[in-house]
Amino acid sequence: MLGLIQTLHPEIDPTGDRRPPMIHVENLTKFYGDYAAVRDVSFDVARGQVVGFLGPNGAGKSTTMRILTGYLTATSGKASIDGHDVFWDPIAARRKIGYLSEGCPLYTEMRVEEYLRFRGGLKGMNRRDTNQRLGYVLDRCWLRDVRRQLIGTLSKGYRQRVGLADALIANPPVLVLDEPTVGLDPTQIRETRKLIKELGQEHTLLLSTHILPEVEMTCDSVILIHQGRVAAHGTLDGVRSQYRGKTLEDVFVQITGAVD
């Protein structure tokens, strides 16, 4: 029986968890016209892992994340979230994801609490669940003091927290965070890192960033993509030893080809 399952579904780990990996990406390619933003990218993210998604600007990080969250469709290849294909079963796949998009766009004319209630309703939660989760995310993202404030009057750091609270509101198993610490001050960055670390205990996280020490502090493993391809994929120590780099920064520079 085990052999049969393995033959039919080689991606399933026969020793432990038989469920499909939380995020499964296979030969993903995305063309914008003639330009290939993502080329033949494949990776898996196991349940409960915190994965750093690295790469220089324009490497295809945001595009990959947008395909995973269903905002864009891939030109070819497959991606699935907890076994739900993002193209064929988009609603079920999107239900599993909380997404913080790059730049964190929000409705600036709404109040924080009102916005989170709206997003909860949009994600199909009833009023009781929304109330319950609202209290949790307001505490978790330090938003209780500003919950009656208009989003347009909030600073960048607070807006980022509202975006994070929105990603968390429906308690999804997967969080996809596109540059969650960009534009924050040092204290806020530290708080956010701490929060990400805590969230990693309950959620599977995929987060993109430029700040390499951040990855070393918060992530279990890394995926480094360069010019639309996966350049390195593995645990932190694995990647470091593979490239004989002392730090992730050495590895990053080595792969992306910048010269000192």
Partner: protein, 322 residues
């Protein structure tokens, strides 16, 4: 279902948080108020001047210099101003991404936005109910001795519904809505029983002017509004800037409205006349809706265009993902 409802609620309340809605409401009420004043004067003048169909005077009267009815010149700008921000603004600020990555289908998003702007459009027409007693020449005869059980239920129902409307803005939206529904139900049942079963009636309303053209005019207004709003929504889903969306929707509305001025110059027996008459919206109102005629050709034209444009909007939103 719950997602669609919360999306409709957001889109609808968003109107009241932007200045454009108040501008539209003001311009609309100034325009229709002016036309109402003219109609009111025509209805009350003595002598050979007068109007036969008051709704035609409101929706169809032309100024001396133009052949286009004044009302339609105002109307041309209203739906584009209501729809311009629906998709274009969201694309501009990036919030469309948050909407398209939520677990809702694309048609639910389009449907919710359409329902919200259509509801606002109907709300915009609501104050014009105040014109109706004059336009229909209503007279009420009160008979305060005709209190019965049924009329009591009827009046209590109306009072309950009014109470619900009053408490809704004070933070009791859900409960207020239930009270309104309950009151409306009581009023309908009580009113119907009072009307059919009782001998004497508390109030007896008679219309001095045929009321049906008013009803058909409102049906036409609702249907044509749906078409123009769907057009604006479609344009808004295609472009990035609000201003471009508004200007394009106005430009595309021009042939539907301005073509009426061609009709005077075309040969009524020629091949072009029926085509222009088929799309010229003010012509439909001048000849049919405001005279109490519900011509199914016009209604089918409006409703199929609405559905086609909404379908195209869904496809256009879908194509964002590619």
């Amino acid at each position: 279902m719950r997602s669609t409802l919360s999306l409709i609620r957001r889109e609808f309340t968003a109107y009241f948080l932007s200045p454009i809605a108040y501008v539209v409401l003001t311009v609309f009420l100034l325009g229709t108020g002016y036309l109402y004043k003219n109609t009111f004067n025509a209805l009350t003048t003595t002598g050979p001047e007068g109007v036969e169909y008051p709704m035609e005077a409101i929706l169809g009267s032309t100024s001396s210099t133009m052949e286009i009815p004044t009302f339609w010149l105002v109307f041309l700008f209203i739906p584009p101003l209501l729809t311009m921000r629906l998709f274009a603004e969201e694309r501009g600020t990036g919030t469309l991404e948050m909407l398209l990555t939520a677990p809702v289908k694309d048609w639910q998003i389009v449907f919710a936005k359409f329902v919200a702007c259509f509801a606002f459009y109907l709300l915009m027409w609501l104050p014009t109910i105040l014109y109706l007693p004059t336009v229909m020449d209503l007279h009420a005869q009160w008979d305060l001795h005709a209190w019965t059980l049924y009329s009591g239920v009827y009046v209590a129902g109306i009072a309950l519904a009014a109470l619900g409307v009053v408490v809704m803005p004070a933070g009791f939206v859900g409960r207020g809505f239930v009270v309104v529904l309950l009151g409306a139900l009581l009023a309908i049942v009580g009113g119907w029983l009072h009307y059919t079963k009782d001998q004497a009636h508390v109030v007896w309303i008679t219309a001095g002017i045929d009321p049906w053209p008013v009803l058909t005019a409102y049906i036409g207004i609702a249907a044509v509004g749906a078409m123009f709003l769907a057009l604006g929504l479609f344009i808004s889903s295609l472009v990035k800037g609000q201003m471009i969306a508004a200007l394009l929707s106005i430009a595309l509305g021009v042939p539907l409205i301005m073509s009426v001025s061609l009709l005077g110059e075309l040969d009524p027996s020629g091949w072009a006349y029926p085509i222009v008459a088929f799309v010229a919206v003010p012509h439909h109102f001048a000849h049919d809706f405001t005279r109490g005629v519900l011509d199914t050709r016009h209604l089918v034209f409006y409703l199929t265009s609405t559905l086609l444009l909404l379908f195209l909007t869904v496809r256009s939103v879908e194509s964002q993902r590619h």
